[in-house]
Structure formats: structure tokens, C-alpha cells
């Protein structure tokens, strides 16, 4: 009874509508803001935001819960009306267009599969609404089942499948429509670690194969770093930083980003020496932190350094040089097989102690590293002292 008699006009922003020139962004948010009203209180979920997501891009919205990332995505999908601003899909204004008329599809966190339908009918749902002929529906659903490695499971009800399989059905159900963008709302959140890691690689592969724009909402920085072409880190309803994973990781634009992405080691001090583009401030007994910054003597600077950039020495490294050298005491050793994570307490004097995390690779030939309570020296190059904007 689902059939070709139903036909719907092409959704707004559909590929057929206008031949997409490569420079038209798949999704554009222009000054989009969303305020929720609960009783007399107004809560700003998303502050005026501008975003452009290119065609074929794997774009992540990353942030803690309540940062506005899901609301942002739901405004793209059409489930929330922006309080102000314009949402564009391939250049077309869709701000007031209903979700069923938008050429984007969503993969829900809870999957939201239709429990009363078979896997086949679930995946065919969108195609049938669009009035795709029966033969083509069968062919495209078959292709999708193959793509997500569920061939032969078409007649199963989703309730009888594992979480990972349901997740793939949800993905197929959205992808089969060949939308101009696929929106994924923490799609791997309900899976266990192993499966999640496998699916990350799988998702990236699928995205490369189909060439569709992916917008991926997650609070898991590892996920975002692994898969994304670009990441927007959100906090309190605003985008704090936008850039490729490496840039986000190595040059965080704010203290929040530095803290949220990876393990950040923060050190601050008053510049005591500034020459040749390097500023130095003391840390610990006889220790010095050097960073490439134009800060003048007397200024306070805060730097962050990634745990894997730090070298660990049991004796004071030689020479003056330009590298940062900080002494401390090992307070924790976590052996992880391929790597060892150390926590080192540094006596930074002024503000009391601070703890730095150091990751070392357990490559062949290395003997046992320092133990708890040992005195050690930490060393890293000036390029890894990333100065946080004041």
C-alpha cells in the first residue's frame, strides 16, 4: 500500500533543484540564535552563530552537554525554529521550512527506528514518501543493506537486533535518501567502546564513499578528532573555536577548548625574560618555561602543553637552549601497555603546586621509567608551549 501513487515535490535544498556549484556551502547558518522559554525564564540555548559547512565535509559540533550543539543541529533539521537568523541549505533559505520538506536526514541518538516495521520498511520509508518507484526502492534499500553490512536482514524487526546493528539501520535509513547533508546526533553514544571505535572508522569510510556532507554532534573529543575534517567546539551556546582537528588540538583558542580537548597541562607565570620572540617565566625550583610569544617582561602569560609533547628525564637536561625545563615529583604512574601516563607534581611556587600529565611511548629498549615519588625533569620545545589568548 506504500507506493508510487504517493509523490511528493522535491524537498527544498535538494540536489536536483539547482546544480550545486562547489563553492555554495551545503549548510549555512547566518546569525542563528535560539532562545527557549520555560515559564517566565528565557534561556539562550544558542547565541547568534554563523557557520558554513562545505559540501562533502565531515563537520563535527563538539561540546559538553547543554552547550547548544544538539539545538544547532535540530535547527538545521527543522525541529527547532530559530529565534533569529537564517538557515540555508545549498543556498536556499529553509528557516521556515518543515522538516519533511528539507533535504537533510538525521540519525538519532536513540536511533528512533520504527519498531512495527521490518528493517527493509524502515530504510524504504523515506524513499516511499518521496514516491520513488517500487523497483528502485528495492534496489536502493538492497544497496544500503550491503553498505552497512546487513544484507539478508531486511525482514528482521529492529527490536530483534543488537545496538550496533540498529545503529547501522538508522544510518542506512537516512543515507538511502541521498540527502545533501546527513545529521548525526551522538549516534555512537549507546555503543560499547570497541564497537564505537570500529564504527568511527566505518562512518568515515561510508562518508568518503558516498561523498555526502556529514554533520556530527558529539561530546566525545576523541570521536570528533578521529573523523572530522573540521570541528566547531561549542560552549554555552557559542562556537569557541572552529578549525581542523590538528589546529583545535594543538592551538586551542581558549582555556575552555584547551581543557575540553584532550588532557591539557596549564602553566602560568610572570614573564621574567623576553628576547628573540621567546618569553620565559620561572616554574618550580630552577625551572623555566619558554614560549614563542611577544609578551613583555612583567606580563602574565598562560600556556598549555600537550602530554605527549613532554619528554621525561630522571636527571637535569644539559644546556641552556630555548627548551622549557621544569622539575617535579612523580605522583602517579599508569601503565597502559603501549604507553605509560605519568602525573607529575610541579612546585610552581607562587600559586602552590600544579600537576602535569606526561604520556610516554613504551618503545623497544626502554627500561622501567621513573616510579612514584621520583624526582624528574620535564622538557619540551618552545613551539609546544601554546600560549592561551588572555
Amino acid at each position: 500500500m506504500d507506493s508510487m501513487t504517493e509523490s511528493a515535490p522535491a524537498p527544498v535544498g535538494a540536489a536536483e533543484e539547482a546544480p550545486p556549484s562547489a563553492d555554495v556551502p551545503a549548510i549555512a547558518l547566518e546569525g542563528v540564535a535560539k532562545t527557549f522559554r520555560t515559564g517566565r525564564e528565557e534561556v539562550a540555548a544558542v547565541a547568534r552563530t554563523d557557520l558554513e559547512i562545505a559540501q562533502g565535509e565531515f563537520f563535527s559540533l563538539l561540546g559538553p552537554s547543554g552547550c547548544g550543539k544538539t539545538t544547532t543541529m535540530r535547527m538545521v533539521a527543522g525541529f527547532e525554529d530559530p529565534t533569529e537568523g537564517t538557515v540555508r541549505l545549498k543556498g536556499a533559505d529553509v528557516t521556515r521550512v518543515a522538516p519533511d520538506r528539507r533535504d537533510v536526514n538525521m540519525v538519532f541518538q536513540s536511533y528512533a527506528l520504527f519498531p512495527h516495521m521490518t528493517v527493509f520498511d524502515n530504510i524504504a520509508f523515506g524513499l516511499r514518501r518521496k514516491g520513488v518507484p517500487r523497483d528502485e526502492v528495492r534496489r536502493r534499500v538492497g544497496e544500503m543493506l550491503e553498505l552497512v553490512e546487513l544484507s539478508g536482514r531486511g525482514r528482521t524487526k529492529p527490536g530483534r537486533m543488537s545496538g550496533g546493528q540498529q545503529q547501522r539501520v538508522a544510518l542506512a535509513r537516512a543515507l538511502v535518501n541521498r540527502p545533501s547533508a546527513l545529521l548525526l546526533d551522538e549516534p555512537l553514544g549507546a555503543l560499547d567502546l570497541k564497537l564505537r571505535q570500529a564504527m568511527q572508522i566505518e562512518l568515515k569510510r561510508i562518508q568518503r564513499d558516498v561523498g555526502i556532507t556529514f554533520v556530527y554532534v558529539t561530546h566525545d573529543q576523541g570521536e570528533a578528532l578521529t573523523m572530522s575534517d573540521r570541528i566547531a567546539v561549542m560552549n554555552k551556546g557559542a562556537v569557541e573555536q572552529l578549525g581542523p582537528p590538528r589546529e583545535i588540538y594543538e592551538r586551542p583558542a581558549s582555556r575552555f577548548v584547551a581543557g575540553f580537548i584532550g588532557t591539557s597541562n596549564l602553566l602560568s607565570g610572570t614573564v621574567s625574560d623576553a628576547s628573540g620572540g621567546l618569553a620565559a617565566f620561572p616554574a618550580g625550583e630552577e625551572g623555566t618555561v619558554r614560549a614563542a610569544t611577544g609578551a613583555a617582561v612583567g606580563e602574565t602569560v598562560e600556556i598549555t602543553v600537550r602530554p605527549e609533547k613532554i619528554a621525561l628525564h630522571t636527571a637535569r637536561p644539559d644546556g641552556a637552549g630555548t627548551r622549557s625545563r621544569v622539575p617535579g615529583t612523580v605522583s602517579e604512574v599508569v601503565y597502559l601497555g603501549s604507553a605509560t601516563h605519568y602525573t607529575v607534581a610541579v612546585d610552581t611556587g607562587a600559586q602552590g603546586g600544579t600537576e602535569l600529565t606526561v604520556y610516554t611511548q613504551n618503545s623497544a629498549g626502554t627500561d622501567d621509567g621513573p616510579a612514584r615519588g621520583d624526582r624528574v625533569w620535564l622538557e619540551w620545545g618552545p613551539e609546544h608551549s601554546y600560549v592561551l589568548p588572555a
Binding site: 511528493a8 524537498p11 533539521a77 527543522g78 525541529f79 518543515a98 522538516p99 519533511d100 520538506r101 537533510v104 536526514n105 538525521m106 538519532f108 541518538q109 536513540s110 528512533a112 527506528l113 520504527f114 519498531p115 512495527h116 520509508f125 523515506g126 514518501r129 518521496k130 524487526k157 527490536g159 535509513r173 537516512a174 535518501n177
Partner: protein, 292 residues
């Protein structure tokens, strides 16, 4: 040795001991009365000489022959009232579940509030409200919106209305229960996949809520078909339902075997109807959807 076994025996017996009260209850209040009525339906005799079990299967033929009209009418009234309950109750349940917000429980309470007043009393109040010169019809006649000879009471619609009114909560509650625990993201998923609001409802919400409708139908159709208060109070002499017949046979004519046979005929018809209905709807689908 016996000491070792004792705890295991107790452990094995525990489930049976725990269900024993339920079994006892069913035996005393279900099996015994049913068996009594069943044997009564096969008896012959009268109140003064006493009844004896003579396997009088003719009672059934006589019951159907004499009262098929009332039985059929009861089923029709019950069905009409049930359909009315779906038409009013489903939107009501839908609205509370999807739009009720923080006041869901308050709305449910409002729905159930009339149930705190006696069933018979409520039906009698409707008799007063719907009287030919009562507050509703009298007023409408007074301002000339209705002709002087218009009436509602003592008609089939009055009975169906009364039944639907009295049993509405039994439809709303099971439908509400299903809609309430439905993942609303499923509706969003349908909208996301190009279904408009109407299609999202007919393709997703409605099929997923069928188990609730199924339960609601059983909970309204059975009692409305067997009800005799509404027919008696609102229906008058020409709209008698089978419940009234059974009452008369028992209490007025003291024809116990006849009353018992009619009871069983009604029960059989309802059971066949329910099983046929469950079958047509697809029991496994109902079970599967309700298991979620």
C-alpha cells in the same frame, strides 16, 4: 541428608506458595461461579419444585430463539459505543500524552474525576439533563432551536451516548499508556523522512498505538455490551439490551436456567468476537509492539 534438602525443597515450593492466593482467588471467585452458572444453564425445573441437572441443551436454543434480538442489539450498541469511545478517546489520549506537558496527571485526574461518583447516579443525572423539558432540551425548545416534540431519551442514541460516556476512561487510559511511553523521536524521524504530520501519524503513531486501542476496545466493548443500567435508565422499553433480559429472567421470572443460558450465549459471542478481532489485527504484532 534431609537437612540439606529441606531448603532446596522450600525454594522449589516458594513460587507455588506465592501464587497460591491468586489461584485460590480465581478458584473461588471465577471457576466456582462459572461452573455453577454453566450447570444451571443445563438444568430444568422451577423455583418451587427445585431445579435439577437434566443436560437441557434446549435451554440454549430457547434463549437464542427468544432473545436474539436483544443480544444483537447489545452487540450493536456496544460496538457503536466503542467506536464513539475511540473517536473521542483517542484524540483525548493523544493530546494528553503529546501536549499535556507538566499537567498530564492533572488532565488524567480530570478524566477520572466523574468515576468517583456512582455509575448509576451519573446515568440518572443524564436522564434528568436530557429530559424532554429538562435543562438542555427545554432551553433549546424555549428559544425555538428545537421543535416542541423533539426528544433524546428512550432512544438508541441516548443509550449509546450513555454507554460511551460511562466507559470513555477505559478507552483513554490504555491508549494514553501506549502513547505516553512512545519515543517521540520516532515521530520526528518520520517527519525527517519526508512524512507530513498526517502521514507521520497514520504510518507511525497509529500503528504503534494499536495495542493500546486493542486493550481499550476490549475494556469498553465487553462491559458496554453487557451493560443494562444505561439501557434501562436512558433507553426506555424499546431499547432493551441483553443485560436487562438476564436481570428479568433471574429476578422477575426466576427462570434461572434461561438466565444462565443467555449469559453463556453472550459470553460465547463476545469471546468469539474478541478472538476474531485479535486474529484480524495480528496477535504477534500486537504482542510485539506491546512488549516494547
Amino acid at each position: 541428608m534431609t537437612d540439606e534438602r529441606r531448603p532446596r525443597l522450600t525454594a522449589r515450593a516458594a513460587p507455588y506458595l506465592l501464587v497460591a492466593p491468586a489461584w485460590l482467588w480465581l478458584a473461588v471467585f471465577f471457576v466456582v461461579p462459572i461452573a455453577t452458572v454453566l450447570s444451571m444453564s443445563l438444568m430444568s425445573g422451577n423455583l418451587y419444585d427445585g431445579y435439577s441437572l437434566t443436560w437441557e441443551f434446549g435451554n440454549y436454543a430457547a434463549a437464542v430463539g427468544a432473545y436474539w434480538e436483544q443480544i444483537a442489539r447489545s452487540l450493536v450498541y456496544g460496538a457503536c459505543a466503542t467506536v464513539l469511545c475511540i473517536l473521542i478517546g483517542y484524540p483525548c489520549a493523544y493530546w494528553i500524552a503529546f501536549r499535556g506537558g507538566a499537567y498530564k496527571n492533572a488532565y488524567l485526574l480530570l478524566l477520572l474525576l466523574p468515576m468517583f461518583v456512582s455509575f448509576v447516579l451519573r446515568t440518572i443525572s443524564w436522564k434528568a439533563l436530557l429530559a424532554d423539558q429538562g435543562i438542555i432540551l427545554g432551553t433549546l425548545k424555549g428559544i425555538g432551536l428545537l421543535p416542541e416534540d423533539a426528544y433524546v431519551l428512550n432512544s438508541a442514541p441516548a443509550v449509546v451516548f450513555g454507554l460511551a460516556y460511562n466507559f470513555l476512561p477505559f478507552m483513554v487510559l490504555p491508549v494514553y499508556a501506549v502513547l505516553e511511553r512512545m519515543d517521540h523521536r520516532v515521530v520526528e524521524a518520520a517527519r525527517d523522512l519526508y512524512a507530513g504530520p498526517v502521514r507521520a501519524f497514520t504510518r507511525v503513531v497509529l500503528p504503534m498505538s494499536l495495542p493500546g486501542v486493542f486493550a481499550g476496545v476490549i475494556m469498553t466493548f465487553i462491559p458496554t455490551s453487557a451493560d443494562y443500567v444505561n439501557a434501562t435508565v436512558l433507553g426506555g422499553a424499546h431499547n432493551t439490551m441483553v443485560g436487562k433480559v438476564i436481570e428479568n429472567q433471574y429476578l422477575v421470572n426466576n427462570a434461572y436456567p434461561m438466565a444462565a443460558s443467555i449469559t453463556f450465549v453472550l459470553m460465547a459471542v463476545l469471546l468469539v468476537g474478541i478472538f476474531g478481532y485479535a486474529r484480524a489485527l495480528g496477535t504477534d504484532r500486537v504482542m510485539e509492539a506491546s512488549a516494547r
